[in-house]
Amino acid sequence: MELTPKRYVDTVVLAPAGRLDHSTSEGFKTALAPYMASCAAGQDHIILDLAGVEYISSVGLRVLMLASKQANAQGGIIGVAALQPAVKEIFDITRFTTVLNVFPSVREGIARLSPPALSAFDAT
């Protein structure tokens, strides 16, 4: 899966697209892995821009949970942003809004995680 990474100082924005379900989640997990290695204290923050994701199943949500656990263990921060209404509803129903960092937009997520990255984001 192509994640079209964009770096803003210490924050990497990744943008999966389409459906994150049983047929795509393994590819999503594999594509995410190299970025998760550096999602650690003193290194990178990660924001997943989900604007292009139209559906996420329990398997896709599990990939996000495992990534969040890895980030927590490494002292890093990962969040998701810009959820489509249907995906936001799935996050609400599954209670994932209570266990993941969920931001209304990529910009608001960057603003919460890294002021230097926000400056770089606004300058683009």
Partner: protein
Amino acid sequence: MPPDAALRVRFWGTRGSIPVSMTPAEIRRKLITALVRGAGRSLDTPEKAAAFLDGEIDFAVSDTFGGNSSCVQLVTGAQDYVLCDLGSGARVFGNDVLARHGSGGHTFHVFMSHVHWDHIMGFPFFLPIYTPSNRVRIYGCHAELEDAFRRQHAAPFFPVDFSELTARIEFVRLQPGREYEIAGLSVKAKLQSHGGDSYGYRFQRADRVVVYSTDAEHKQDDLGEVQGFVEFFRDADLVIFDSQYSLAEATSIKEDWGHSSNIVGLELCQRAHAKRLCLYHHEPLSDDQKLAALLAETRRLEEITRGDRRVEILAAYDGMEIAL
């Protein structure tokens, strides 16, 4: 009911982990809500009041999902009784049999998901075991099936030892994956992920299928395992599914606690083309309002994720009956 009549499923206990009862505060809240809603109405007969409750008051206010632990009856139309699990709901079931059909001469076939306490605790209070002319056949896949029942009756846990039970009680070990013909039903068990293992059961008679799948965790890491459950649920008329936790809980703080979520149940049923999903083994912390919300949210999720087939979503409650 004749043996060729439609299968029915009756729920005697639907709560997970431990029986619960409504608190006085909950009862009071329901009464206040109903009384306020009925203010100014002419509700001066039991019939009018009942019609008002049935027609205008939400289930979470007018009724309760109930608090007995796991016990489900498959009503086959034959004389023998068929049950899944012997949680505290079995006490109510046993009393009902005695009240309706007398104390003796009955045969019960019971399929055990596993022998954790909440699934066997109704057995000592299942009155048919104290009548000599009754026969109770307990089926399961665990090697320790009989031992667990005997130990529950042993001192100091219970005053009546297992050896003093007068009904004819038999334990039958089943092999998962093998199909059996029992009490007019085709039955197949499947291993599930749970502490000490649990087993789901797929029951079939003619073209009607009921799956009883409780106390099962589905991490979904292993696609082959997922596909195995899709096949186990395939084209079922009803899947009774452990939905004790939210997906977030099941994948975070309650991972490896052995239970699943409404979301995973829905996804498996959608992929299996099952017709109905019944949420079951309710979280003891959930009051009626929370369970009603769980049902509404699951129905909404089904709506927004529906493909070309609809899955009807139900939430089990003590006393609920479903005709297939």
